[in-house]
């Protein structure tokens, strides 16, 4: 249970970074923290207490494997999710470099020209 609370706290720390902070780099760190919180969430879904790695070694029956191993599906999903996060972070970082070249600042207050 405490892990789930930690995930929710992490998630809202990330949301705080994205919404309240005015510095683009801090916003990107917020995006990153949200990504980590989600990855942790997926891992915890598949976790079981005292579980073993989901690898079928010789000498282990299928029933034994099913009753002991953790769920491998969320772990596979997290791999994909990490790649997606990575590409978004990479893109945001390169975007912020370009923005710094144009405006000379990372401050959103100075950057905001569009009315929305």
């Amino acid at each position: 249970m405490i892990v789930y609370i930690a995930i929710v706290v992490m998630f809202f720390v990330g949301i705080y970074g994205m919404i309240v902070k005015k510095n683009i780099i801090k916003m990107i760190i917020g995006v990153n923290i949200i990504g980590y919180a989600l990855n942790l969430f997926f891992i915890v879904i598949g976790y079981r207490n005292g579980g073993i790695a989901p690898i079928l070694v010789p000498g282990m029956t299928i029933e034994e494997f099913v009753s002991k191993a953790v769920n491998p599906l969320p772990q596979a999903l997290v791999l994909t999710s990490i790649v997606i996060d990575l590409s978004i972070i990479c893109f945001l970082a390169s975007l912020s470099i370009r923005i710094y070249e144009k405006y000379g600042s990372f401050d959103l207050e100075k950057i905001r020209r569009l009315k929305g």
């Binding site: 949200i34 997926f42 999710s81 020209r113």
Partner: protein, 489 residues
């Protein structure tokens, strides 16, 4: 049938092929992208026979059956979306051959273009929650980059805003997928629906709420719309045509149809939420579009308004509501792509899209003016053009469901739409200006617009009983189909 994977494979292959071989060449990269998108159109047309013979076709990736592997599925509803998507994409690619020439590294555009097509085709053929999410992210990330493609200051800022909000939308969708996986242990939609019958209603509502808010962000329905006008008006025009014409409709509206009317069928109340979102964005978009200083911003706000019509029709439901939603999707996709391409052609000659700087285009670019005229009057709902039929069906559906107030508001918003488009027509096309330097755009820019406007013009004639049979099949998918039927067979 293996043909189902071709729209995804061809476009993905095109992206890698261009990145490997023709990164240096503007011409070859564009022609390769055009060829592959045409091949994908051909594969979709060939697929049609199998889809309409059977109710749906399935493909098990790697041969793994339903609860274990990833399943791909095309039915009549996703087929119509596939057809519209793959019809518009080659035209936009053809337009870009000349238009994107002014950018330095335009071959990168075609790589990202192919990735967007991959993602959008992939969303339409997936029957697996996580697969949908992955394809959603492929197309979204490519679109974030394409918005900033020109690297001007405003474009960078619009892209930053769009990326942040798109990320939040994806996070909401991913959290609900995580909850689905945690509660049911499956990601397959058909398998999920069988298990979900025995689940707690409050938990399902929570998942559904996260899904609807995530998708509303992607669709840019009213309270979540604020990224759209910047992103869609500042992107290069072909990109705006993709984003406004088909991107928001497939990543948002198509998934919303699936979630509301095929997956969470036990919650008919969710339709009222969708109807409210649609109604508010319909009114808001139309009011904001009146007083814009830039043509592309007007079109962007008009997109919010028209996607509101689609969501409204989905929320009203019933045969007429669903028919109106699908028809409005088809004709609005064609018309809005046409309008953004048209603004691109104007921008190509005049180097600006500010309404005050554009005057008397009719004298210099008569064909461009004709296509713009068709697009604007179509979206405004003037009789011979496509959107007239879809709008009148949406209004009929509201009256049949006894929502007289909503029908009245839909008529009023349609009149407002006509108002701001007539104002645009008078100000930029049919006004006097003595600036002789500008002449008609070339063949590559003109032909995609002419083809699109012919389709829109014939919209009323095409919508004959022969064609209606196919659209009725898609409507019956929205009315009666639930993924649980696949497991029963």
């Amino acid at each position: 049938m293996n043909l189902i994977v071709f729209p995804v494979i061809l476009n993905l292959f095109s992206a890698f092929l261009i990145a490997l071989l023709w990164k240096k060449s503007k011409i070859y990269s564009g022609i390769a992208c055009l060829c592959f998108s045409l091949l994908s159109l051909i594969s979709v047309i060939l697929l049609g026979k199998y889809v309409f013979q059977n109710q749906y076709i399935l493909y098990y990736v790697g041969g793994w059956e339903i609860p274990i592997g990833i399943t791909l599925m095309v039915d009549a509803l996703s087929y119509i979306f596939l057809l519209v998507l793959n019809f518009i994409l080659p035209l936009i690619c053809w337009f870009s051959l000349t238009y994107m020439g002014k950018y330095v590294k335009s071959s990168y555009f075609y790589i990202l273009f192919s990735l967007i097509s991959t993602g959008l085709n992939g969303i339409l053929i997936s029957m697996d929650f996580f697969n949908i999410y992955v394809f959603l992210e492929i197309s979204s990330i490519a679109s974030y980059i394409l918005v900033a493609f020109g690297l001007k200051t405003e474009e960078l800022e619009a892209s930053l805003k769009y990326t942040m909000l798109g990320f939040i939308g994806s996070v909401l969708i991913l959290v609900s997928i995580g909850l689905i996986l945690g509660k049911t242990g499956t990601l397959n939609i058909a398998d999920f629906m069988n298990i979900a019958i025995g689940m707690d209603r409050i938990q399902l509502w929570f998942i559904l709420g996260l899904f609807i808010s995530g998708l509303a962000l992607k669709t840019a329905l009213f309270p979540f719309h604020f990224w759209l006008p910047d992103a869609h008006s500042l992107a290069p025009s072909p990109v705006s045509a993709i984003l406004s014409g088909i991107f928001i409709k497939i990543t948002g509206f198509y998934l919303l149809i699936r979630i509301v009317s095929n997956i969470f069928i036990m919650f008919s109340e969710s339709k009222i939420i969708v109807m409210g979102l649609g109604l508010s964005s319909m009114i808001f978009g139309a009011l904001m579009a009146i007083d814009q200083k830039d043509i592309k911003r007007t079109y962007a706000y008009s997109s919010i308004s028209q996607i509101g019509y689609c969501a409204l029709a989905l929320g009203i439901g019933g045969y007429w509501g669903y028919l109106g939603a699908i028809l409005h999707f088809i004709f609005h996709s064609l018309s809005k792509s046409l309008l953004f391409l048209n603004s691109g052609a104007i921008e190509y000659k005049y180097k600006t899209t500010k309404i005050d700087d554009l005057k008397g285009i009719e004298d210099k670019m008569p064909y461009t003016t004709m296509t713009g005229f068709v697009g604007m009057l179509s979206i405004a709902g003037i009789p011979p053009f496509g959107c007239f039929w879809s709008k009148i069906i949406i209004i009929i559906s509201a009256i049949k469901a006894h929502y007289y107030g909503i029908a009245f508001i839909a008529v009023v918003v349609s009149i407002i739409t006509l108002g701001y488009f007539l104002k645009l027509l008078r100000n930029i096309f049919y006004s006097k200006d003595e600036n002789p330097k500008i002449n008609e755009v070339n063949f590559n820019l003109l032909m995609p617009m002419v083809l699109l406007s012919i389709i829109i013009f014939l919209g009323g004639l095409i919508f004959s009983p022969n064609i209606k049979i196919y659209i009725d099949k898609a409507v019956s998918v929205m009315e009666n189909f639930s993924y649980a039927q696949i497991m029963e067979k």
